[in-house]
Amino acid sequence: MLLEVAEPVWGFFPLSLAGLMAFSLGYAAFVFFGKAESDYVLYAAGLIAMGIVAVDLFFVFLGFLWLLFSIRHRADEQPLEGQLDAGTELATGFSLPTFVLWPFVEASMKWKQPHNVEVRLVSKGWRRRELITPTERGRIQEIRRTFKVHDIFGIASISFSKRWPAALRIAPQLSLLEAAIALRDTSGDGYSHPSGKEEGELIEMRRYSPGDPLRLVLWKTFARTRRLLVRKPERAIAPQRSTMAFLVAGRADEASASTARTFLERGLLGPEFTFSADGAHSTFKTPRESVEAIIDSAHYRHDGGKGLNILIADMDLAAPGNCILFVPSSLGDWFDRVADFSRRTPQPPTLIIGVDGVLHEAKATVARRVLRRSTTATQRLSSLPALYDKLASLGGPIHIVHRPSGKLIGPVDIDALRAL
């Protein structure tokens, strides 16, 4: 916290820790051995070491001025506008000088605000173009870029920040479709009928007749009753076609947001649905509005689950349809609100969790934990079993979608994770 506050000032201190140490050692060699004991080797070495640090500083400072000059006029540019998905790259049009003809000096840049954007600089001619890849959804109204001018030896560096207006809409990344389809099929006895409804889980049976495809045979029923039956679409008297869905915002909710968007845009919530998300003031019936609500929910992570009141106000408690909640993969205050919601509905909602992280990880033995440090860039799934158990206490079905692979994480996988 203290470092964060001091950073704008500290950033202008041009010596790195290595530079300070190099200068100190050079000074010590010069004074304590060079001068005090007439050591000509260390006299020259200390002096040249301090000289190099000074020259290095000089070039880095010049580089800092040059960079400042070259980006100054860009502060008044039109705001950066655009619509993109998280995980996709966008050329912003912003560029930095390459410093290719400068000795020692290099420059780098990252986004300080918002922090969930990866920045890549690609050389083109005498400038390095900025390419950004947002990692999370949201709306960006202001960009704060942090620039760092440094030398190749790591001796000197000057960093500073600058703000630009922006109007970026970043939608959550679409999940892989396989998981959603698999999720849809989990409630049936095998495959849904090709001519059946999209919901697919409501079926009728009839006797097998020659010519029926074997994959439609209900083999479990056959095993129990020795009767060959095949499935056919149900003719329901009062089909429940409406689905209510809600995205609960919270820490580590990006994968769940991706899954929610995939459900919406692939029509996996059925032709009629009601959707809402944290931060929204109403429910929505169309995927477009719903996705906008998902994007906005990124700014309400601290109030995860509060929007469930809107959903319950819209819900017909006498004839409830399917209810799906997309919840974050990390426990938080939202859990109590979801539990409260679950108690107030006639039947517990279906909970869907999107997760990232390493799915198949070798068992972390004690030796491994002691000897090696963590190497993965993403979250580990070690906390998932605890979340699963907590959500299971609500009584509803739980489905966990692994976003990177598109696979479903079932109870067996949870037990495997529990053993790690």
Partner: protein, 727 residues
């Protein structure tokens, strides 16, 4: 799986040096280890250690990329060092059956290689985790060079001999070479701070550094280091005076105006309790004729203290002690007041060469004139001047019967040289001392002085451990107390006792060089630890004579033997021999660097490099033999080489497809060629045949020719190393 998801599952990339940078670091480390081990280890052990360095560097890199925890790596490195000691000793203690010589070599090799391995793993691991630790690597390398040449410290310009002798005999000053080594060591060690840089940036930075180093060297090569030198706390050097001034205690005491300041007047009793840790030569005296002092000691006087300030003696005003020359001659000879009587003295001309700044000229007692001399070697000497001294030629017994204070002295002058603390004990003690004199000599000043001198020599104990500095009158505290003290106490006590008996006396400060510690010859090297204070008395018809006290009891170790070689080297430099006496012919030309041969060698090497590079370029561009798979691969590589020549290099981590897309505007066909290559590589059934691949390659060349200006294409043809960057 999409790209983002794939990245999410990748382990963190650990920033490690590229292999060329690692190789360069190994070379620098290897050179440093050779320097460290040359005086300690056998050749086999040095070779094994260099090998161990390579292994250690790769191990550290492996441990870093495999995310081994740093403490674990450090513990393993520590165990390796421990193993070095255990295994080395075990081999020595165990009968290996290899014979004693081989066992020794083996033990040495095992010990030093394991030591190097542990050290390099620890250093490299630290450095890879945090860049600040790379500075330790820099220090390790610079330390190796400093350690190799450590012998030259403290103006020991004749050491290390392997460098000094070679340099002097070739007309080079070793100090200049030592400075060059320091600069080169720092430049080479900067490799340790590198991580991943573009070659161009590296070359540009290296050239800038060389320019900075060259400018620095031009400035510093003739610099002489003015070292702080301790002269037994007497404050005889300029630097000591400045230091005391900085502490706010310098300057003249009392109301005397002084002349030239110079000596430690604030409190001469405040001296260190031991001899100086660092012994350095402060001056060289070259006698023009053969001369050996009667008492065995050469007294080089700098200043005299004759005015009592209520605590101790200090420099008197400018109208007193005019027989002492207190200024350096600038353009003309400076003469002292003629108080020394020629008949009683021998005229001794000397040349003085100061190695350390002194506020006033040193001169063999008693100097009568000081004349300017050209400094023969400003890098080593701070000043040079000629001195003519009158040294006492008559025996001391011939002084008997002479009075101390002539009738011609004014009462003020007489009172000045007889002033002493207001303490009746001085007079009482001196009366007791002279009471037992033979009545014939009862009134003889010289005899009285001898009696007092003898008393102090018999009763006094020379030690630095008691300085009586807190006493109101330190001389009294010494004389009427333990009688344990050092030269300042003896000189003051003797002076006050002399004065109490009516003998004009004062304290002289300077250096006393014992002839028995010298090596002979006409050069006397004066070391800082020979700083001394002694009493002088005035004898009518003779002048001021040195009347030093030699205590019979002392806890001081004997003086150090003067290094013959250093004395000789400095003496020869003082005589303006640029080779310091090391070359058979002092006028021989200094060693010349064979620049022409170096340039020729450089050009030949450059030509060989270019020839090899073009050969490889042509070979990669033209070779088309082998299986169909190999041929298509070579066609593809040749196309990439061509792009590399033009500066279009695939970035690290960039896929082939992405690279092709990046160059789509320049060459749309590159994507097709890349797809063709990938189809071949993955064994796709739909891969194009060789003719189609050739056609695509031709198309790429045509597109490049169309889209690029001629100068750029020509630059591409000339570029000999584009293939090096093909990924």
């Amino acid at each position: 799986m999409n790209a983002r998801a794939a990245i999410a599952q990748e382990p963190l990339r650990h920033e490690v040096e590229s292999l060329p940078v690692l190789f360069a670091k190994w070379l620098v480390y290897g050179a440093a280890v050779v320097l460290y081990l040359l005086p300690l280890a056998t050749e086999q052990a040095i070779g094994a250690s260099i090998g161990a360095l390579a292994v250690g560097m790769l191990l550290a890199r492996f441990a870093h990329t495999r995310a081994l925890r740093l403490p674990v790596t450090l513990v393993l490195a520590g165990l390796c060092v421990l193993l070095a000691f255990v295994a080395g000793q075990w081999l020595l203690d165990t009968s290996t059956g290899f014979g004693s010589r081989l066992t020794l070599i083996l033990s040495d090799a095992v010990f030093f290689s394991l030591l190097s391995l542990g050290m390099i793993v620890a250093l490299r691991s630290l450095s890879m985790r945090a860049r600040v630790f790379s500075v330790l690597e820099v220090a390790f390398v610079v330390g190796a060079v400093a350690y190799t040449f450590v012998g030259h410290r403290n103006h020991m310009i004749h050491r290390p001999r392997f460098l000094s002798d070679w340099a002097w005999s070739n007309g080079w000053d070793p100090q200049m070479l030592l400075q060059a080594f320091g600069v080169v060591a720092v430049l080479a060690s900067l490799v340790m701070l590198l991580r991943v840089q573009s070659v161009f940036k590296l070359i540009l930075s290296a050239l800038t550094l060389l320019l900075v180093a060259a400018l620095f060297f031009l400035y510093a090569k003739d610099v002489r280091i003015d070292q702080d030198v301790d002269t037994n706390g007497l404050g005889l050097t300029d630097q000591e005076q400045k230091d005391k001034g900085d502490k706010g205690r310098g300057g003249q005491d009392g109301d005397g105006d002084g002349n030239g300041g110079g000596v430690n007047q604030d409190n001469p009793y405040n001296t260190p309790s031991s001899a100086p840790d660092i012994v350095v030569p402060v001056a060289i005296a070259v006698f023009h004729d053969d001369y050996e002092p009667k008492g065995g000691l050469y007294y080089f006087r700098q200043q005299v203290l004759s005015r009592y300030n209520g605590h101790h003696l200090v420099v008197a005003g400018s109208d007193t002690d005019q027989d002492v020359i207190t200024e350096f001659p600038q353009n003309e000879t400076l003469s002292a007041e003629p108080v020394q009587v020629m008949d009683a003295h021998l005229q001794v001309p000397t040349s003085m060469f100061l190695l350390v700044d002194h506020p006033q000229p040193l001169a063999l007692t008693n100097s009568v004139s000081v004349s300017p001399l050209e400094n023969p070697n400003p890098r080593h000497f701070v000043s040079a001047y000629g001195v003519v001294s009158y040294t006492l030629s008559m025996d001391y017994d011939r002084l008997l019967g002479r009075r101390s204070i002539p009738d011609s002295w004014a009462p003020e002058k007489k009172a000045h040289y007889l002033e002493l603390p207001d303490d009746p004990r001085y007079k009482a003690l001196s009366d007791i001392i002279v009471r037992d004199l033979d009545p014939r000599f009862a009134q003889d000043d010289v005899m009285k002085a001898f009696a007092i001198k003898r008393y102090l020599e018999k009763q006094g104990f020379y030690t630095r451990k008691e300085n009586h500095e807190d006493a109101v009158d330190p001389a009294a505290d010494f004389l009427f107390g333990s009688m344990r003290g050092y030269c300042v106490h003896f000189a003051h006590a003797a002076t006050f006792l002399f004065r109490s008996q009516g003998i004009a006396a004062r304290v002289a400060l300077g250096y006393a060089v014992d002839n028995q510690y010298r090596t002979g010859g006409s050069t006397v090297m004066i070391l800082n630890d020979r700083a001394h204070a002694w009493p002088e008395i005035f004898i009518e018809g003779v002048g001021w004579i040195t009347f030093d006290i030699y205590p019979e009891q002392s806890d001081e170790p004997p003086g150090r033997i003067v290094d013959q070689d250093l004395e000789s080297v400095l003496g020869e430099l003082a005589r303006n021999d640029k080779t310091a006496g090391k070359a058979a012919d002092p006028d021989s030309k200094p060693l010349e660097i064979p620049w022409r041969a170096i340039w020729l060698g450089f050009l030949v090497a450059l030509a060989a490099f270019l020839a090899l590079a073009y050969l490889i370029k042509a070979f990669r561009r033209l070779m088309r033999f082998g299986s169909a798979f190999k041929v298509q691969r070579r066609i593809f590589v040749a196309t990439l080489d061509g792009l590399g020549d033009l500066g279009f290099i695939r970035e690290e981590g960039e896929t082939r497809e992405r690279y092709a897309r990046r160059l789509q505007d320049l060459s749309p066909s590159l994507a097709g060629l890349t797809d063709a290559h990938l189809a071949w590589a993955f064994g796709s059934a739909s891969r194009p045949d060789l003719e189609q691949t050739r056609a695509l390659s031709r198309k790429v060349r045509e597109e490049l020719a169309k889209n690029l200006p001629l100068w750029r294409r020509v630059a591409g043809w000339i570029n000999p190393v584009g293939w090096w960057f093909t990924r």
